[in-house]
Amino acid sequence: MPPLDEIIRGSQIWKSVFRHPAPIDRRNRVVVMLTNFFLHLHPVSIKKQGISLSYTWCMGGVTFFLFLVETVTGVLLMFYYRPTLEWAYNDMLALRDVASLGILREIHRWAAHAMVITVWLHMYRVFLTGSYKPPREFNWVIGVILLLLTLLLSFTGYLLPWDQLAIWAITVGSNMARAHPFLGHEGPGSALLTLDGIDMITNASDARFGLLGARFVGEETLNRFYVLHCVAIPLAAALLMAIHFWRVRKDGGISGPL
């Protein structure tokens, strides 16, 4: 009888998934990069300098991996968590004390903090190597938007535990929107926006109200931030990440001296 791995690799099922032999010779190491969906983001070959860890710091890749960790742990957390005043905090207690895999929330929170840091480090490296210079200007701009989305993801997630730390951090942060020029009811210029002598910008119609869904951080805010955190921002980030990676390839791959 042939060895087990030969039986598996020779089976119709295996061959239907992987249409070529194992990547152990040069030809198949090229083919694997071209035929595998998850690997096709990469080029087939690359300058040695471009994969040197002391040059790239791997921080972009680490950020993407942390995003995947956040997605997986986030989905699992959503099984346990209900974004209502009645349940949000109690579900946190249950996650800590009752649920198996009791470090789910820990992984999610620490990976979120780490992701903010790795995004910064990635941008730091890109700046220090001048990699934003032509032809990569546009990808840097997308990167800045992704930085913003990362911060917003973290910010919206900060509220969900619904403890004192959460509600007051979001209160302090969202109070800034109250002072938005023209669009905040305590911002410069908003007093000028009147219609027949009636203020258009009040604490029930300004930028902060739009953000919180209420005059203060409350149940509406919890729901709004939950939807932003779990659906809207991750989708936007995923789309921009796809463009970001695609543009890395289209703009000539990882930067290096000409």
């Binding site: 070959s45 690359i46 300058k47 620490w110 001048g130 840097w140 004192q164 951090a169 800034m176 002072a179």
Partner: protein, 457 residues
């Protein structure tokens, strides 16, 4: 903060931590010595007089490893309380420390590191600096106030970030110094040497896989050792003091000391984002694309580092570790006392001008005057500040071209639009340190203060 834990109990807890901590540093130094010995990269420092035996960096780091091992053993045997800074030193540091000393001190430190970069990037020097900072962290951990802030679960990542930033700044500067030296000798940058192509499978794919596994391991250990914070249930009536935004926004919250929310919370963050996006379009320097260098792009490097390390990171560190109740400043070893009172005697520019200089009192329209008259009086009242700002933003860009050769060359190469974007971004960025200085030196509150329309600047 920690009224219910006695110092003796605290020291017992910290002793366990310090034992591991010092042992970890000892292992780190032992590995460094082993690496230097094996790779033959050890440097001879001097020869012993009698025998002529060479003393190398291997011996030094072995010795350091030994010292940290002894510290570790000492800490675990109840000596942790003795491994500490004298109270007098801590009190002195707290008394001297303030926003001015902290900010200016860090700026000076970074400037010294920058100017002396050829010396400070040397591995031996950088490693010694790392050891010293870890030792200082260790002996500071025996201070209850220091430990209670640094060990707050959400603050631990920031401590990690400081060390990561230090490491990567060193790494990039070290490569840049090497590249600049090579360029001066007419050689190509280091990155150019590895020009040959390799296959992505296995060379890159395996690296990525190893990174993923290492990261997962780090996350698991971190998650097991440190529980995510969960405070009391949310209450809209119990306001904690201090109330802090999430840590990555604390630089912005710190700016609230100097600016009103519409500037610190809306306009300036918008300018930061817009300014970051503008970087590739205003940096016309074609050099330094794809390799580390400082000399070939000094202006871009210094501007970015000033914005990132000084204005962003140090303000976050200050907002996290040094701002306590009522957003008052507290030294590293100071108890966060909610009753600490700091005199607020900040004065508006219009007050200085009309009251202190002209002795006339600030102009004020009659209460029943029509709107347009009232606005006229407000403009008159704030005219000095408004003119100052107009002069700053209107006169700044042309003045830079006229009086500075550097900016004149830049203007000629960049063209009008790019130059205006660049100069205005720089002026906006410079306004924060200018406001800080005006606050520290003459208690300046607002240059333009129109509270009637929430327009304070």
């Amino acid at each position: 903060m920690h009224g219910h834990v006695s110092y003796e109990d605290f020291i017992l807890q910290v002793a366990g931590f310090l034992t591991t901590y010092y042992l970890f540093i000892a292992a780190m130094n032992g590995l460094a010595a082993f690496y230097l010995w094996q790779s033959g990269r050890a440097k001879e420092l001097f020869r012993l007089p009698g025998s002529g035996l060479a003393v190398t960096t291997v011996h030094v780091w072995l010795l350091v490893a030994g010292v940290f091992t002894i510290l570790s053993a000492y800490a675990t045997n109840g000596g942790a309380a003795a491994l500490t800074l004298p109270q007098a030193v801590r009190d002195f540091a707290d008394a001297r420390m303030g926003p001015v000393v902290y900010t200016v001190g860090l700026l000076l430190l970074l400037s010294v590191l920058y100017l002396g970069r050829n010396f400070f990037v040397k591995p031996t020097v950088a490693w010694a600096g790392l050891n010293l900072s870890l030792l200082l962290m260790g002996i500071s951990m025996t201070d209850m106030d220091f430990a209670s802030i640094v060990m707050k679960p959400d603050n631990v990542p920031i401590v990690a970030m400081i060390y990561l930033l230090g490491f990567f700044t060193w790494l990039s500067a070290s490569k840049a110094v090497q590249n600049d030296a090579r360029t001066a000798r007419g050689e190509v940058p280091l990155e150019k040497l590895d020009d040959e192509k390799v296959l992505v499978w296995p060379d890159l794919v395996y690296t990525e896989l190893i990174c993923m596994i290492a990261l997962m391991a780090i996350l698991f250990v971190w998650a097991i050792l440190l529980q995510a914070p969960l405070e009391e249930p949310a209450s809209t009536v119990k306001t904690p003091n201090p109330s802090k935004a999430p840590w990555y926004f604390l630089g912005l919250q710190e700016m609230l000391v100097y600016y009103d929310p519409w500037m610190a919370g809306v306009v300036l963050p918008g300018v930061v984002v817009g300014g970051l996006m503008a970087i590739p379009f205003i940096d016309f320097n074609k050099q330094g694309n794809g390799y580390y260098t400082i000399n070939e792009r000094k202006f871009a490097y210094c501007t970015f580092q000033f914005g990132f390390l000084v204005l962003w990171v140090t303000l976050i560190v200050m907002g996290t570790f040094l701002r306590g109740p009522n957003w008052n400043f507290f030294g590293f070893y100071e108890t966060w006392d909610a009753h600490k009172v700091e005199a607020l005697n900040n004065v508006d520019l219009s007050q200085y001008f009309w009251v202190d200089l002209l002795h006339t009192g600030r102009p004020k329209a009659a209460d029943d005057a029509p709107m347009i008259v009232k606005i006229g009086y407000i403009l008159l009242r704030e005219s000095v500040g408004i003119m100052l700002l107009l002069f700053y933003f209107g006169g700044g860009p042309p003045a830079m071209v006229i009086y500075s050769k550097f900016f004149r060359k830049m203007f000629l190469r960049m063209g009008f639009v790019r130059y205006m974007v660049l100069s205005n971004l720089i002026l906006l960025m410079a306004l924060l340190p200018i406001k800080m200085l005006a606050r520290w030196t003459v208690d300046m509150k607002y240059f333009v203060s129109i509270p009637e329309y929430f327009l304070n600047f």
